[in-house]
Symmetry: C2
Subunit: 323 residues, 2 copies
DNA sequence: GTGAAAGCGCTAACAG
DNA sequence: CTGTTAGCGCTTTCAC
């Protein structure tokens, strides 16, 4: 059924080691034999078994990318950028989705260890401690979380959030709610901190709502609480949750932005298409994906790459309603 | 650095095979030794190397899902459903994105063979012939393409398209354009065929535009050609392209649906949120993902699972403008 | 330049 | 119940 090195060796009358060399150390083999062997291999449809190869070389040529939820449009562009970069450096990418579940994340990592040369953990939900343990077993780059002495790629949401909150203050908003995503989200915490600091500097009051699942449903679930607070603007943990808020607002007849301004985070595809178009904080996901692969493949000292973010003002924010 | 079976064996004073059995055939080992061995293993932080294990068992416990573009919101829900189902059956899922490129798809398949127990090809761009060859090397399920004597999961877009076109005819449309996606798209061809047949039955004329990339950009690129045809309605290969058409229409000041009705396919997340909300054909992606895993794991005779589709009427379609 | 042999980490008969 | 042995598919010394 499956053609192995041995089959090729037999069919071309040389030893397996010669066939092996023909593939992975072609300069060590007589050009003529090499050509003959490759011809036979091709004829037979031989494909090296990468897993077996990895067993002796300790290099698989694969990288693993582990994300919380590929259905969250924030992740795919990052994954694709990582993939492009990996391909340019002659590696393949295996992706795993953890469904926002910590046990699944653990399992995903475990199943990849040994089949990849390195792992990129995007917005991991695992504990810092556990990530450090894993880093001992396999080269690791963490995206969206800061861990001392580990290579990290960070997107400074704080920067974009500060600008966004400043803008809301200028528009006259005096009470703002932040809608929280998963408690384990490192960037989420950083964003909330940045929002609250900036708000304080502008004399704006803040409230927290949540945590909720970082999904459209989660955002919708938060809407009533937001409304009850009587705020005039709300910052959502991500665009998905902002979409949920937008939908709930429409269903409840709450005008956006006239009565409530809504700000998302991520600038996903949908943000440009919502009604009203969503104001949001754009993340440099492409750069992050590429940087993660570079860090992983460079394998040098645990460097930290920090990338900037900025708010994109669309139609879901406007002047605060007059009291 | 990395702990192996041998290390555990040495540390617990038994043979490697006993350690192996303690892990994968625990009933074949004395309870006391097993407990001791597992304790030592745990102490040492031993993790079985799945790739090595697979080399002898020929079972990896992994399934591969290969999709054309994870950034296309059509795919993630399918992947997630497949993942859930796989997990329920004690398997992991590795995902690969082929960037709509046939060479990358080939590479992705190749890199996964040997590291997975089976492959799910979603909307493959590879030739039928090549897919059949691959099916000889690795268990395979094809989604969104019909291949004789191979297990397939099909979503009958035709069904939804026929209903959608019928509805357009009822709304008075007499000239309709179909915007084509990638030439290699099997469902795309089926959809166009269904559209043209139904149109003919209703005395409606059809035109084809494209092919274009199945992306928002691709859709936008098709807009001018659509406009030039003077049609009053357009069916897009997928929602992404429909979004592009919507955007281009807005930019050109063409009112949707007053002057042009737009229909997508897939019913992705964004469709509900566009302005106007997109009429589209909903695909049973969850069911498809689950069915694909079931077929793969059952490994029985090459069955074909066909799932129905239906149009969802929103605000991007309306009565044809009066001539 | 090529073959022989050992080994990567693990499992699977086969004895005992 | 456990140790021995062989082998999964491939690479890598080490001789010749």
């Amino acid at each position: 059924m499956v053609v192995t090195l041995k089959d090729v060796a037999r069919a071309s009358g040389v030893h397996t080691s010669t066939v092996s060399r023909a593939f992975s150390a072609s300069h060590l083999v007589n050009p003529e034999t090499r050509i003959r062997v490759l011809a036979v291999a091709n004829e037979l449809g031989y494909r090296p078994n990468r897993a077996a190869r990895a067993l002796s070389t300790r290099r698989t040529g694969n990288l693993g990318v582990i994300v919380a939820d590929i259905a969250n449009p924030f992740f795919p562009p990052l994954i694709k950028a990582a993939q492009d970069q990996a391909r340019a450096r002659d590696h393949h990418v295996f992706i795993a989705d953890t469904d926002e579940r910590i046990d699944v994340e653990e399992e995903a990592v475990r199943s990849m260890v040994g089949q990849v040369d390195g792992l990129i953990l995007v917005s991991p939900r695992l504990s810092d401690r556990r990530i450090r343990e894993l880093a001992d077993e396999v080269p690791l780059v963490v995206v969206n979380r800061r861990l001392r002495r580990l290579p990290c790629v960070l997107m400074d949401v704080g920067e974009g959030i500060r600008l966004a909150v400043g803008r809301l203050a200028d528009l006259g908003h005096r009470e703002i709610a932040t809608v929280l995503g998963p408690p384990a989200s490192w960037t989420g915490r950083a964003a909330v901190r940045a929002a609250e600091e900036t708000a304080r500097e502008h004399g704006v009051r803040t409230y927290r709502v949540g945590p909720h699942q970082p999904t459209e449903e989660g955002g919708a679930a938060a809407f009533d609480a937001v409304l009850d607070l009587g705020v005039t603007a709300v910052l959502a943990h991500n665009d998905l949750m902002a979409l949920g808020l937008l939908r709930a607002a429409r269903e409840r007849g709450v005008a956006v932005p006239e009565r409530l301004s809504v700000v998302g985070t991520d600038d996903t595809l949908t943000a440009r298409h919502t009604r009203p178009a969503l104001t949001t904080v754009a993340m440099p996901v492409d750069a992050a994906g590429r940087a993660a692969v570079d860090l992983l493949l460079r394998g040098a000292d645990p460097e930290v790459v920090t990338l900037g973010t900025r708010p994109i003002e669309r139609d879901s924010t406007g002047p605060a309603p007059r009291g």
